[in-house]
C-alpha cells in the first residue's frame, strides 16, 4: 500500500495545470507558429528523464516533457480562440526562426 502513484498523480495534475497558462501566454506573446520548438523542447525533456536515476524526479521530468508536447498541439486552437475574442489578442507577436518553413507544415491538433 505505497502511495507513490497517487502522489505522482497529484504532481502530474499540478504540472498539467501549469500547461494551461503556458499555452495561453505562449500563444499570446509568441504565436502558434512556435509549435515545433515547443514540441522539440518537450521531447528533449522526456529524453532527459531517461538519464535521471531518482525515480520521482525522472517521473516529474517526463510529465513536464509530455505537457510541453501536448501544449504544442493546443497552440493552433488557442490562436483561433484569441482571434475570436475569447482570449486577449496580441498583434505584435515575436516571430519564430524559420517562420516561412513552419507555415508550410500542418500545425498538429488532437
Amino acid at each position: 500500500m505505497n502511495p507513490f502513484g497517487i502522489l505522482i498523480g497529484l504532481v502530474t495534475f499540478t504540472i498539467i495545470g501549469l500547461g494551461f497558462p503556458l499555452v495561453i501566454r505562449g500563444e499570446r506573446y509568441l504565436g502558434y507558429l512556435w509549435w515545433p520548438y515547443m514540441m522539440g523542447i518537450g521531447f528533449l525533456i522526456i529524453i532527459a528523464s531517461l538519464f535521471i536515476s531518482t525515480d520521482w524526479l525522472s517521473v516529474v521530468t517526463g510529465v513536464l516533457g509530455a505537457t510541453f508536447v501536448w501544449g504544442s498541439t493546443e497552440l493552433k486552437e488557442q490562436a483561433v480562440r484569441a482571434e475570436l475574442g475569447w482570449f486577449p489578442f496580441n498583434a505584435n507577436k515575436i516571430k519564430p526562426p524559420f517562420e516561412e518553413v513552419i507555415k508550410k507544415w500542418k500545425a498538429p491538433h488532437l
Binding site: T12, I52, D55, W70
Partner: protein, 136 residues
C-alpha cells in the same frame, strides 16, 4: 549510465490519458442525455484506478495508474466545463441530443457551429465573419 524508463512511462501515460480525456469528454458530453451518469462513471473509474495504483507492487504500473486515475477524476469535472462551453457557444451543440436542444433553446449564445474548426488567420475575427471561416 543506467537508463531509467519510469519518466518515459509517466510521459506516455500523461500524454495518452490527456488525449483520451480530451476526445472522450467532448464526444460523451455531446451525445449523453444526462451529464450526471458520465460524471459519476468517470469519478468511480478514477477512484478505482487510484486504488489499483495503491495496491500494486510494480512501480511502472503504480505510476501509470496514478496518472491515469487523476486524469479520469479531472474528466468528471471537465464534463461540466464542456457543458458550460456549449452554453457559451465555445463548443458546438448537438441538436439531436435533447439536453443540447434545450440548451440551444434557452441560451442565445449556444450554436451548432464549431467555430474553432479552422486555421488561424492572424487577426481578430468579428462574430459575423467567424462562421464563414470554418473548414469542413
Amino acid at each position: 549510465m543506467e537508463i531509467n524508463t519510469l519518466g518515459l512511462t509517466a510521459a506516455l501515460t500523461a500524454f495518452l490519458s490527456i488525449w483520451l480525456g480530451h476526445v472522450a469528454v467532448r464526444k460523451i458530453e455531446a451525445t449523453s442525455r444526462t451529464i450526471w451518469i458520465p460524471t459519476i462513471t468517470a469519478l468511480a473509474l478514477g477512484l478505482i484506478t487510484e486504488y489499483c495504483s495503491l495496491i500494486t507492487d510494480n512501480l511502472s504500473l503504480k505510476t501509470a495508474l496514478g496518472i491515469l486515475g487523476v486524469t479520469l477524476l479531472w474528466d468528471a469535472f471537465e464534463l461540466h466545463r464542456q457543458e458550460k462551453r456549449v452554453k457559451h457557444g465555445h463548443a458546438p451543440a448537438n441538436p439531436n441530443n435533447p439536453r443540447h436542444a434545450k440548451i440551444l433553446a434557452e441560451h442565445s449564445t449556444a450554436t451548432t457551429l464549431d467555430l474553432l474548426k479552422r486555421d488561424p488567420v492572424g487577426r481578430p475575427v468579428p462574430p459575423d465573419e467567424a462562421p464563414k471561416l470554418i473548414t469542413h
